[in-house]
Amino acid sequence: MKLRLLPHPILTPVLALIWLLLVNSLSPGQILLGLILGWAIPVFTLRFWPERVRIHKPLTLMRFLAVVMYDILVANLAVAALILGGPKHVKPAFVRVPLALRTDLGISLLANTVSLTPGTVSAWLSPDRSHLVVHGLNVNDPDALIAEIKHRYEAPIKEVFEPC
């Protein structure tokens, strides 16, 4: 019963917030409309979202987001320097990152994070989902890059969304 009426408790406030940002207003009417949309959209699109998303450690999630923001900022400067320094200095490489994540959500979040942080783009996921192939712009030590991705991004995502 609870599952039918409120299938995704996290999606509802997120959708309401997105609605408020879209209309750029905080009037009671818009808040109510946002909440109604946030309730109705998950109910009517239930079939597209078979997995129920649960956030287990909100604090870890916050810290993870802060780390990603910081990395985007710092590594952006590094990539800018690489581009300005000239194409002869870049050492591109493909690395295979073995995945410990198992759910669709976890893997897509990791792939997105890897692509957002400058210097790496996720390029290919093996059909059995055991490896993510990542293209690095300037890789001096592939093992260090793999270890960094696993430790910095994969571990917190696993902790927050797949605690088992």
């Binding site: 997105i18 940002l21 590594a75 990539v79 870049v90 493909f94 997105n112 783009v121 390029a123 290919w124």
Partner: protein, 117 residues
């Protein structure tokens, strides 16, 4: 004071977006070129959007925050399109400076050999 800050943010944003496009023109192969537009743009567009929030919030019509949505949508779409471009390039075996991953080299197990994916 505010105008100074806005100008700095806009110039910084434009600079990083420009460096991103410069990477697109200067780097050696398809995969490294992919890094330019997905990367430098995050910081460049970020700085431009902060400038936009500051400008519209201080014009006296209340806080303006829907620039956050632009960031959100950009952060969702940019990595997905980059991933698809890279995946398509692996399938087509685009020339690469780096040795491509084993799957792409092996003719029997490579991405191209698999069908219905």
């Amino acid at each position: 004071m505010l105008e100074m800050m806005l100008s700095v943010l806009i110039v910084v944003g434009a600079l990083f977006t420009f460096i991103g496009s410069l990477g697109l023109a200067r780097l050696g192969d398809f995969y490294t070129r992919l890094h330019g537009p997905t990367k430098a743009t995050t910081l460049g567009v970020g700085a431009l959007l902060i400038a936009s929030v500051l400008y519209f919030s201080t014009r006296g019509e209340g806080l303006s925050l829907h620039e956050i949505l632009v960031t959100l949508f950009l952060f969702i779409t940019a990595p997905v399109s980059a991933h698809l471009l890279a995946k398509a390039a692996l399938h087509l075996r685009v020339r690469s400076l780096a040795p491509p991953p084993l799957e792409a080299e092996d003719p029997s197990g490579g991405p191209r050999a698999r069908t219905g994916d």
